[in-house]
Symmetry: C2
Subunit: 221 residues, 2 copies
DNA sequence: ATTTATATTTAGGTTTGCCTAAATTAATTA
DNA sequence: TAATTAATTTAGGCAAACCTAAATATAAAT
């Protein structure tokens, strides 16, 4: 009944994530970039998803998800994030190792499995990268976090998430001692290249980070 | 490099399980039965697997696994059984609910995931149905268990496994109070239909089970 | 040893998801 | 507004894994 292919789920997830950012119509090329296929293949799939009423699609006009499409996308994202948390909190994986495995696990079909896993993990609200985990109805708390690059001086900030999930980036943060929950303060900003000088609470340690890095770190006041 | 498709893995697993029993060449129709496809489709796949040197295949002569084929099959079985145990021991599933989910999970590709899961579960030797779990080298203890239907009277027996894994059968055992580890004694056998009268240790409870049921229960002395 | 039955393979065709190249539409720039 | 560029779609094709029907090989029965 409710069975969609691995590939279909990945397209829906990609469309969801794109429309989350741009908050409008998603284009063929954007999707092609994410799912790593030729644009022509994307067009094929869009026609198929449209027939199944999972997306709204008109030639050349971009796409958006229908309610059913969004539900499926959120279900996949929910599974992805639960599995990521499982891998780190129970199996001892580091946060830079879990993405590829969760990309596979997110397609396992079993409503009961998701519910039991959710309970086993204690109905968590956030995954190891600080992303919110949708509940069984697709609802989640959207964080009021903002990129560190937007931060003013003086305030004490808490690191609550990352935007870039690439292993290289995460490993770099590890090396700097930057982890979720860490409290930091912006000591200074260089006007020229927007790089930042930050310090940790309870430590004299200082750190320089580039604008590109700061853009990908999410913090709250 | 070491990547085989979902389907290829299922064929190899089927061939492994069939050759375990009959201990010889496996036929096209036997495989077709297990993987639930037409015999002609099996022939297609056998030719493909043969080219990849995962099986030894000659037209009309049946097949057997090569060493590489066997390794892959055992890897899949290892994963299947580890996941089944995870589902029952950590997520609260019952032994009749885990098969279909494990059929999906067994194809997740990540050597590290398997190792970490194995460690998380305490390097278990048996799955929830009493089947041995191969280690990272494909080695496992083959049980010296035998079907309850072959048991003589008098001895106290321990239930250590089941042959049939169908939910119906397992639920029936649950209803009878027959579970792994339970100690029983054969009180009598009916010559006519080979049905059995068994009793539990530490209980006056008596039970009649058919020959068909007894054939699918494994016990040790 | 033939004949009959069963098992297996070949032939031809489908679907899914992908590709490249060519055509078309939309967006941008002159 | 016309011309150029970029994005998107159509056309035609490929590989994987499946199917049915027909052909062929093996096994069983007379």
């Amino acid at each position: 009944m409710n069975q969609y292919s691995f590939t279909e789920e990945n397209y829906l997830k990609a469309i969801y994530k794109l429309s989350e950012r741009d908050d409008g119509k998603v284009t063929t090329n954007q999707i092609a970039e994410i799912v790593k296929t030729a644009a022509a293949s994307v067009t094929d799939m869009l026609q198929k998803l449209s027939e199944k009423k999972l997306i709204l699609y008109q030639k050349y006009q971009g796409v958006s998800l229908t309610l059913s499409g969004k539900k499926i996308a959120l279900g996949v994202i929910r599974k992805h994030r639960l599995w990521e948390l499982f891998l780190t909190s129970k199996l001892g994986f580091k946060w830079d190792e879990v993405h590829d495995i969760a990309e596979q696990l997110e397609h396992i079909q079993s409503e009961k499995l998701v519910q039991n896993l959710d309970r086993f993990l204690g109905k968590p609200k956030f995954d190891p990268h600080g992303d919110p985990i949708p509940d069984e109805n697709g609802k989640f708390q959207s964080q009021k976090a903002f990129p560190l690059s937007d931060a003013k001086k003086t305030y004490t900030l808490t690191i609550t998430g990352v935007i870039d999930h690439h292993p290289d980036f995460l490993q770099y943060l590890d090396k700097c001692g930057l982890a979720l929950g860490k409290k930091i303060k912006v000591q200074g900003k260089t006007g020229y290249d927007n790089s930042m000088n930050i310090s940790f609470l309870n430590s004299k340690q200082q750190l320089f980070i580039s604008f590109d890095v700061a853009k990908n770190i999410l913090v709250t006041l």
